[in-house]
Symmetry: C2
Subunit: 112 residues, 2 copies
């Protein structure tokens, strides 16, 4: 393995490596942060598996969390553009966003 390591000289640090454009990184991080929570990832997984929009009251019943907390998590997914809502009467039905970027769609395909 040592042969594959670059030569080094003390005090000579360092040629910056090839970087990804910060905008691209930030965009990915926004989605990753939205998904980096057990409750929200589970929500997305359920929505992805469901053929029909899911009433948020189902999530409130399924998780052992308060109703405001569930609403808060769903709002995060909404802000990240991952889900969309349709309100019918007193109920709110959520589904995966229809206009997901291909990269985001691929991400969900791998994850859930």
């Amino acid at each position: 393995m040592k042969a594959t390591l670059p030569e080094r000289v003390k005090g000579v640090c360092c040629p910056p490596s090839i970087m990804v454009p910060p905008a691209k990184v930030d965009a990915s991080v926004e989605v990753l942060k939205a998904l980096a929570d057990p409750t929200r990832l589970q929500m997305v997984a359920v929505l992805k598996r469901s053929t029909r929009p899911v009433c948020i009251c189902d999530f409130t019943a399924a998780f052992e969390l308060s109703q405001p907390t569930i609403s808060h998590h769903m709002a995060k997914l909404r802000d990240a553009g991952l889900v969309e809502v349709t309100k019918v009467g007193i109920w709110a039905y959520y589904r995966l966003a229809g206009h997901l970027e291909p990269k985001t769609r691929a991400l969900l395909d791998v994850l859930v």
Copy 2:
């Protein structure tokens, strides 16, 4: 769209939806949290693009962050099992982990 929405009865909430095993979710969340930071995602991107292990001093030079902070971020990637380190003299060379789970590998292929 209304036709695709399930019928609802007041006060009847709710049949729990089909859930993903919590262990699976937690495992994914651990990786997602490790990647849900601009600095760390950039690091992973650089490591994925590089054919040779990268000295951590290159990252210290590339980012406008202190050396302890860079070391801290790399430790997070290490704890998540995403990267491995080889120490040669006073230098530490990092690379993507060789034994990444297929799911994690696919995740990185989509992301970076």
